[in-house]
């Protein structure tokens, strides 16, 4: 068992022992199965946020209603929870947003013993996002992106207001990050130069497109906008994760979503790209393309840096992920789609290498 898994499991055991009686006193009972603690969770840090050590738990109130509990005793993670709550509150207050997301109702937020605990209602959805018809998926995704774009920090006052709570990336930050992915990958994958070469090509494309990255900057963007971070109920999208909201390029969130769908549902990626091409400027299509390359580079770097913490099947799976997303990046650089056979081959290998508890964790997630 790799060290990161042992450390995670010991951490979970300690935290649950302390938390269970506290939650029981507050009227919450934990489910027997906790999918968000298992599988590859020990490796997980959100791609773009420094998600620290906190537990995400499923449970129920005395009346049987379902809840999601986030809890931590780690000082950094407490700050993250506080920060996420601030973002959620601020988003409802900013006076330059045209539309807003719905949020699950907060039932409890406070300190108990050494823990900071956040409890929110669990949003039951009729079916997972990817089980919906393509047209519905398209409509919900587009609506969510428009809601994000509706908050555009254009003035000096807006920028001052959002800077502290949300943070902001500018074109030069994307270029700097891209260079750091390139340098990091070159070290992490010293025996395989292809990903580093592809990321160097990405960095060159980003430099060529600095103008459009800057031009479409300062939009609210959810940098991890993928189906496990939102739920749909009664026609309304509920955002579950506010920690990944920031102001940056308009297409940063789009890019993450489109890259995700290039694996899970390529027709949706095609439809959203076509929408941008037919309804927005050429520069916006260029910005979307550049951001897709950037987010693919980031994803490859994310998996490459996880490699030392893996062994056995998980090691093979992580290597397969690096190779797959490198293929995806190469296809995107060449403005073509990855063949379905390559996607199918990767999916088959991934499913064969995933542990049983990770498979369980993935059920209904998307």
């Amino acid at each position: 068992m790799p060290d990161s898994r042992k450390i995670w499991e010991a951490y979970v055991g300690r935290e649950l022992a302390g938390l269970r009686p506290i939650l029981a006193r507050e009227g919450y009972a934990l489910d027997a199965a906790q999918p968000h603690l298992a599988g590859e969770r020990h490796l997980h840090r959100a791609v773009t946020t420094e998600s620290g050590r906190k537990l995400i738990l499923l449970g129920a109130r005395a009346d049987g209603s379902r809840v999601v509990i986030k809890a931590t005793s780690d000082p950094e993670s407490k700050q993250e929870l506080i920060h996420e709550r601030e973002r959620r509150a601020e988003l409802n207050k900013i006076n330059f947003a045209y539309e807003l997301f719905a949020s699950p109702r907060e039932l409890f937020f406070g300190s108990r013993g050494s823990y900071l605990i956040s409890v929110q209602e669990f949003i039951e959805q009729e079916r997972p996002y990817l089980a919906r018809p393509l047209k519905e998926q398209f409509a919900y995704a587009l609506g969510a992106f428009k809601a994000q774009e509706g908050a555009h920090a254009t003035t000096y006052g807006h920028r001052r207001r959002i800077e502290r709570v949300f943070g902001r990336l500018e074109a030069r930050d994307y270029l700097r990050n891209s260079d750091s992915f390139k340098d990091g990958i070159a070290v992490a994958l010293s025996n395989d130069t292809r990903p580093a070469t592809l990321i160097a090509r990405t960095a060159a494309v980003l430099r060529e497109n600095t103008g459009v990255l800057e031009q479409y900057g300062d939009f609210l963007t959810h940098t991890d906008f993928v189906p496990h971070n939102f739920r749909i109920k009664d026609g309304q999208i509920y955002l579950l994760d506010y920690s990944s909201l920031r102001f940056g390029n308009k297409y940063e969130g789009w890019a993450r979503f489109l890259n995700f769908m290039a694996l899970y549902n390529p027709p949706l990626t095609r439809a959203l790209e076509e929408y941008v091409r037919k309804n927005r400027t050429q520069e916006e299509s260029a910005a979307l393309h550049a951001m897709r390359l950037y987010r693919l580079s980031e994803l490859i770097w994310y998996y490459a840096r996880n490699l030392p913490h893996t062994e056995g099947d998980l090691r093979r799976l992580t290597e397969a992920r690096v190779a797959f997303w490198a293929d995806m990046l190469e296809a995107a650089l060449e403005d073509r789609e990855l063949p379905q056979e390559r996607i199918d081959a990767y999916t088959e290998l991934r499913d064969a290498l995933r542990s049983e508890d990770e498979k369980e964790r993935q059920k209904g997630l998307h």
Binding site: L134, T154, T155, E214, Q215, L272, Y275, N279, E283
Partner: protein, 172 residues
């Protein structure tokens, strides 16, 4: 004719009034020499349209002052101006400008707020454009092409431009 469009909103801003300002400039530039003065950071370029941007990222007072000065300067070179409603343009119009102007009520939210500046701009204007074309219908990849809606949209722009041309011709 040399036409100046003064606007508080311009793409990449996403407000409907921003899209209107850009589309108005694009369409008028087919027959006229058009300049756009906008509160904007890195506005979207248009062929045959001269863009003058007052950076919205500057502190408000500095930006309003710069816009007012730029409006006075640009209006001197224009035969007519089209001012799109919004406090930051209405304030700049307050001291008066050299060119006669048409006041377009494209920003319905700003219009609803009303206020002294808006009333003053309406009183100063040569003509008022109360209605503007709706936003362009979207072409949705998984839906049939919205031919009828696009035709209506084009018709509303034709009518809008006819109204503007009538005002301009009347002034000649």
């Amino acid at each position: 004719m040399r036409i100046l469009i003064a606007t508080p909103l311009y793409p990449p801003e996403v407000a409907p009034a921003a899209a209107y300002a850009k589309e108005l400039a694009r369409r008028l530039s087919a027959r006229h020499e058009v300049a756009v003065l906008a509160h904007a950071h890195l506005p979207e370029e248009l062929p045959n349209v001269r863009l003058v941007a007052i950076d919205k990222r500057r502190p408000r007072l500095a930006r309003l002052f710069a816009f007012t000065r730029a409006l006075r300067r640009e209006a001197r070179g224009a035969e007519t101006a089209i001012a799109i409603n919004g406090a930051s343009v209405e304030l700049a119009l307050l001291p008066g400008i050299a060119a006669p102007f048409i006041f377009s009520l494209a920003d319905k939210a700003a219009q609803a707020r009303g206020g002294l500046l808006a009333r003053r701009a309406r009183a100063q204007a040569r003509a008022l454009l109360r209605e503007v074309p709706p936003p362009r219908p979207e072409i949705l990849p998984l839906e049939p092409y919205p031919a009828e809606e696009i035709a209506e949209y084009e018709a509303s722009w034709s009518a809008h431009l006819d109204t503007i041309e009538t005002i301009l011709n009347h002034a000649r």
